[in-house]
């Protein structure tokens, strides 16, 4: 066992454009060994491009990157041997059964299901009752578990998951993240992307990414704690009118709908919620509630 085995990911000044449109722009970050690192950002933020560069499928225009100590350009073959990759639109072979899919990916990496059963056992056990069923007939959650099994069957050191939970129901999403935590305990480094802000909290560290640029890198807790504005959660009977009136409030800094309430921040440090309440009462609002609330990743994201 080599102790110096490097399982991390480093990205230095990576840029990539398609027809002059910049998909990612001078990105730099590092993922530590055994970390779950989240790329959080909306569609079109450049997450998939970055994944493809790191999995040696695309050349970057500029910059360098390494995965598990191998350079993504020069040593692409070594990387291809030691990473697991679940692309965003990955949908398995629909006409192959669960078992056939898994067997195929095992042989592809020159291994067998039995050899690496340990690693996938926890996950595979849940879909094993359906092992003769065609992948196309599985539910979203089961498909995703199978896809994860397929990506893990060769004991990768680094796992790349591009939006693995998109379009999956909340129950399966929750189970999926539990599985990732267990894989992490087995020493696998995981780079995962997601458009769901609420999944950010489940990563060790996250990079908030938009339009090809990283807005912030830190642990989810730090990101929230470092946010210096006070957010007020405002409710009233007529939400739409409330939104319009809050936007007209003279000292408003930001006003946006947040679920069934409205998140409000003020420019003044000496802000008093009673003044705001009075302002709203003057505007004939009823059932007014104003509360201080803890910021979420989404609140931070919106202020960047």
């Amino acid at each position: 066992m080599k102790l110096t085995l490097n399982m991390s990911i480093t990205v230095q000044n990576i840029s990539k454009s398609y027809n002059k449109i910049k998909a990612v722009e001078t990105l730099s970050f590092a993922v530590n060994e055994g970390e779950i690192f989240g790329l959080i950002g909306p569609d079109g933020a450049g997450k998939t491009t970055l994944f493809r560069i790191l999995t040696t499928l695309l050349f970057a225009d500029e910059g360098t990157a390494s995965v598990a100590g191998f350079d993504v350009v020069k040593e692409y073959k070594s990387i291809r041997n030691c990473v697991g990759y679940m692309p965003g639109k990955f949908s398995l072979y629909q006409d192959l059964s669960v078992e056939e899919n898994l067997t195929f990916f095992a042989t592809l990496f020159g291994t067998t299901i039995e050899e690496n059963y340990d690693l996938i056992k926890d996950i595979y056990i849940q879909i094993e009752p359906f092992k003769t069923r065609r992948a196309g007939a599985l539910s979203g959650g089961m498909k995703q578990k199978l896809a994860l099994c397929c990506a893990l069957i060769h004991k990768p050191k680094v796992l790349f998951l591009d939006e693995p939970t998109t379009g999956v129901d909340p129950v399966s999403r929750k189970e999926f993240w539990q599985m990732l935590k267990r894989l992490q305990q087995k020493g696998i480094t995981i780079l995962v992307s997601t458009p769901y802000m609420d999944e950010a909290a489940l990563c060790d560290r996250i990079a908030l990414i938009q339009k090809g640029k990283i807005l912030k890198i830190d642990s989810p807790i730090n990101i929230i704690e470092k946010y210096d504005k006070t957010i007020y959660d405002v409710r009233a009977k007529n939400t739409y009118q409330l939104l319009l009136d809050l936007k007209n409030h003279p000292s408003q800094y930001s006003v946006y709908a947040f679920g069934e309430s409205i998140h409000y921040t003020d420019k003044e440090t000496e802000f008093d919620s009673d003044t705001l309440k009075k302002y709203l009462e003057d505007k004939k609002h009823t059932e007014i509630e104003i509360q201080m609330t803890k910021p979420t990743i989404e609140d931070v994201f919106m202020d960047l």
């Binding site: 569609d43 979203g140 129901d169 458009p195």
Partner: protein
């Protein structure tokens, strides 16, 4: 809120062979409401919605949309609703103007109406500079707003939105919901189907479908209170666990 019912659903059922996709669901939607229709993939929400928009015949049960029976007056139903899906929104290879004209045409608007609507829409959305550009070249958020406006071209009483803001950046999402609120404010009913639980938080009332049945129906606030959790996501988790 207005208590005038705009959608009524009574024991609506759809069977495919021996499989019951929608199992005797009943609910009402009121005028001017933002109604969230939630469920995991395969829970039956798409099947239910297809029956409501008149493109799939129920096996049994009744439903009326804007006062028309979905079984016998499907054509009238289609005329009184708008539809927008995240998956299909606009023709990428047509310009903004061409898209508006095309959709105006299929909704049966007269040429004069289309002209007027186009001008109005372009102005409202501040699209003057790009009106003759291909939709392809627009940022995702703009496309979405545009396709929502297009779904409203024929002034439908009800608009069905299929996962309208999934995968969109938080700011665009806010702008989009503001448009939806504004439309609801005018009295239009919004029927939002989604499996993104955070979209559910924005609705006035939500129904949660699990395995063909509606397992919960209330405002997000009441549901969260009832299940004693902080988010709709957790409501869903609790519901699913109860059923298992």
């Amino acid at each position: 809120m207005n208590q005038e019912k705009i959608i009524t659903v009574n024991n609506l059922t759809k069977e495919f062979g021996s499989f019951t996709a929608v199992n005797s669901i009943s609910f009402d939607v009121y005028k001017g409401e933002i109604f969230g229709f939630l469920g995991a993939n395969g829970a039956g929400k798409t099947t239910a919605m297809k029956m409501l928009i008149g493109i799939s015949k129920p096996t049994s049960g009744e439903a009326t949309v804007a006062g028309f029976d979905v079984k016998t007056q499907a054509e009238m139903v289609k005329k009184s609703i708008g539809y927008m899906s995240q998956k299909f929104s606009m023709y990428d290879d047509l310009t903004i103007k061409e898209n508006i004209t095309f959709f105006g045409g299929i909704y049966g608007l007269s040429r004069a109406q289309i002209k007027e609507k186009t001008a109005q829409l372009i102005q409202e959305l501040n699209l003057q500079d790009v009106a003759d550009k291909l939709v392809k070249s627009l940022p995702q958020g703009w496309k979405q707003k545009l396709s929502f406006s297009v779904a409203l071209l024929h002034e439908p009483k009800i608009v069905f939105l299929d996962e309208p803001t999934g995968g969109v950046d938080p700011i665009t999402r806010r702008q989009f919901w503001e448009m939806i609120y504004a439309e609801a404010h005018k009295g239009t009913t919004l029927f939002v189907t989604t499996h993104y639980m955070d979209e559910a938080e924005y609705c006035d009332r939500v129904s949660i479908m699990v395995e063909g049945k509606i397992e919960a129906l209330d405002s997000p606030k009441n549901l969260k209170q009832k299940y004693n959790v902080d988010s709709m996501n957790d409501v869903f988790l609790k519901l699913a666990r109860n059923i298992e």
